[in-house]
Amino acid sequence: MEIIFSLWNEIIIRPMLNTLMVLYVVFFNNMGIAIIVFTILVRLITLPLTLKQVRQMRSMNLLQPKMKEIQERFKGDRARVSQETMKMYKEAGVSPLGCLGPLVVQMPILIGLFRVLIQTLFANPDDLVGLSDKLYSWISFLPIYEAAPLNNSFFGMNLAEPDPTSFVLPILVAASTWVQQKMTMMPSMDPRQQSSQNMMLWMMPIFLGVFSLGWPSGLPLYWIVSNLIGVSIQYFITGWGPLFPLFPKATPAPASNQPSQGSQDTTSEEVLEDGTSSTNRTNRRRSRRTGSERTRHRPQRGRGRNSK
């Protein structure tokens, strides 16, 4: 157990904490800016994982019609369903656990981030004592030892204390989480899955918003910046996706809706092409079919690539 704790400390906590301290010193002893730059850095480092995750999830989703077909064809024969499903995944170049890998890798990073932010933001004696033995003594070119305890003021807020307004940061946390989730939501053929997605679309933002009421402001700040970066990444990969229209007037039946058809169209391509390219092309084609409104919101960069 001690070895695990030590590894956790040396591989996750100390590098992150010292990076944050360096950023704090470099960016004018301003913890708010340090957190923002730190979040950008973390998102950049984990960008390949994020991209892989998005692509894997899309690929999995696009295979759903075919999967349903397999389930119907071999109804009652679970072994065969499993065998055919695995065969389909293999042919499409998709790993069913592929989207879990990046999540597993990101999990310790995010948990570590929480720990690091809590450790650096709080200025009570216990946290400060714990901070001292995590600083790298070889960073002598910057005064990171001298920087503690940190100045937590940022735009009139104390980043170590909850939002003084009690609503601005929680609302931003909830709204940015909702937008990011909405953009990553994939239309599903399975009504149960669709319903659970819809539930999570609202549950998560409310859950996080309520939680962040009691968080030190530095954590919501991290979360909001991280969400904004996530939204930007998603925009450059898939455009606004299902974000617009925000509230569709009517929800068509899953079997006859357009995205599903789009998905079906591409299933055959999926086998021939790698998951990434087929995903992107499918999305672009679907975007054109679903109307001019969605096309208007497509990013210039994506359209340029598509035309090649």
């Binding site: 999990m107 948990i111 001292s132 033995d133 005064p143 030892y145 503690a148 990553t184 999570m200 859950f207």
Partner: protein, 387 residues
């Protein structure tokens, strides 16, 4: 899947014990007249009867019932009739030593609001006539309080929090602040006599020794300043981490404990005589006993070190692996007893002992007469003897 993952992450983050204010304080102990006063992690100040037989019992507990102080970081000060405690809840208490209540003789004063996330981390100090009590606070003020009734005499506002426990010498108050300065104020008026800028926050208790103010800073330097005008006399800058604990001095040397785990023995002009590696950060103030220097490392080792050469005499490891953060305490020892040959006897059986409070809620009385031998251990959570 992503949502569930995020919920897990958020839940894990939110369940961290330090998220939000959960300050419990440390476990400082102080002994006087056959009684040991210890602040507990449950937010109580307990008076333990220590009759010298090794059997310890609780005399009183303050506050009574379900009320609590919120925690204490520094050693309470024992006066003639009252004991003074600066607590995390932002209050300064003067408690009747006999009854364990504020009562008619005592008082309590609200200096800062716990609800504003402000606390009293600094320990109190009382002047020789026990008329003024001084304490630093999270609202950047050093408060001078009338020891008779708790009324404010004056206050001085520094540029940042004051965690450093002040020291009084020659009608002057010395202390450090997060604003990186060391201050000297007039005890009667609170006027600034001088201030000295260091490179980091100053949370250590100053030591006034041979007309010098000796204090370490978060810039990893240990300073010797002229007590009269604050001019820098010398600095020691070989340490590798912050100076948190206050220094102590014998006749010849000053001992500066650092968070790099070393205690540095310096002569009066700042030359390093020896250093001893305790193996983990030194947060607790060391104490001097007739046999040598006693230090308690953060990882729980209490060591007795020979003063002249820095050799380990004996080690008490019964507390490991629990952390020791609070200042360790020894009852006052006459100046002429601070030699290696003069072992202190008499004056009550407490005088040959050190008192150590650990973060598991236990307090230890350790005899420092012939090595380090446990006299007793008391668990303040269970109110019972511990192993």
């Amino acid at each position: 899947m992503v949502s569930l993952f995020l919920i897990a992450v958020v839940a894990l983050g939110a369940c961290q014990p330090n998220l939000g204010s959960s300050i419990q304080g440390w476990s400082p102990a102080v002994a006087s007249g056959g009684v040991v006063y210890v602040a507990t992690q449950q937010g109580k100040l307990k008076a333990l009867i220590d009759d010298g037989t090794g059997v310890v019992s609780v005399k009183w507990s303050f506050p009574s019932g379900d009320d609590e102080l919120g925690g204490v970081f520094n050693t309470p000060v024992v006066g003639e009739e009252l004991i003074y405690v600066a607590a995390v809840d932002g209050m300064l208490y003067a408690i009747d030593k006999q009854t364990g209540a504020v009562g008619q003789n005592g008082w309590s004063a609200t200096l800062v609001q716990d609800s504003d996330n402000q606390h009293l981390v600094s320990g109190p100090v009382v002047d020789a006539s026990e008329s003024t009590i001084l304490v630093g606070s999270d609202d950047n003020n050093l408060y001078a309080i009338n020891a008779d009734n708790g009324a404010e005499k004056w206050r001085f506002m520094a540029g940042d929090k004051i965690w450093s426990t002040p020291v009084i010498a020659n009608d002057t108050v010395y202390f450090g602040s997060h604003d990186r300065n060391v201050y000297a104020l007039d005890l009667a008026t609170g006027d600034v006599k001088w201030q000295f800028p260091t490179g980091g926050a100053v949370v250590a208790r100053p030591l006034v020794w041979r007309d010098m103010v000796l204090i370490g800073s978060f810039d990893r330097k240990f300073y010797a300043l002229d007590a009269e005008d604050g001019t820098e006399l010398w600095t020691f800058d070989d340490a590798n981490n912050w100076f948190w604990a206050g220094a102590v001095a014998s006749n010849s040397f000053v001992f500066a404990p650092s968070m790099d785990g070393h205690v540095y023995a310096l002569d009066r002009v700042g030359n390093l005589q020896w250093d001893y590696d305790a193996g983990s950060p030194l947060v607790a103030n060391p104490v001097i006993v007739p046999r040598g220097l006693v230090i308690a490392s953060r990882e729980g080792d209490v060591s007795l070190i020979e003063i002249t050469a820095g050799n380990l005499v004996n080690q008490y490891s019964d507390i490991t692996p629990v952390e020791i953060l609070a200042p360790i305490f020894t009852p006052p020892i006459p100046e002429n007893s601070l030699s290696l040959t003069g072992i202190q006897v008499g004056g009550g059986n407490q005088q040959e002992s050190v008192f150590v409070g650990a973060q598991d809620g236990t307090v230890h009385r350790i005899q420092a007469k012939s090595g380090l031998i446990k006299v007793w251990c008391f668990d303040t959570k269970e109110d019972a003897a511990c192993q």
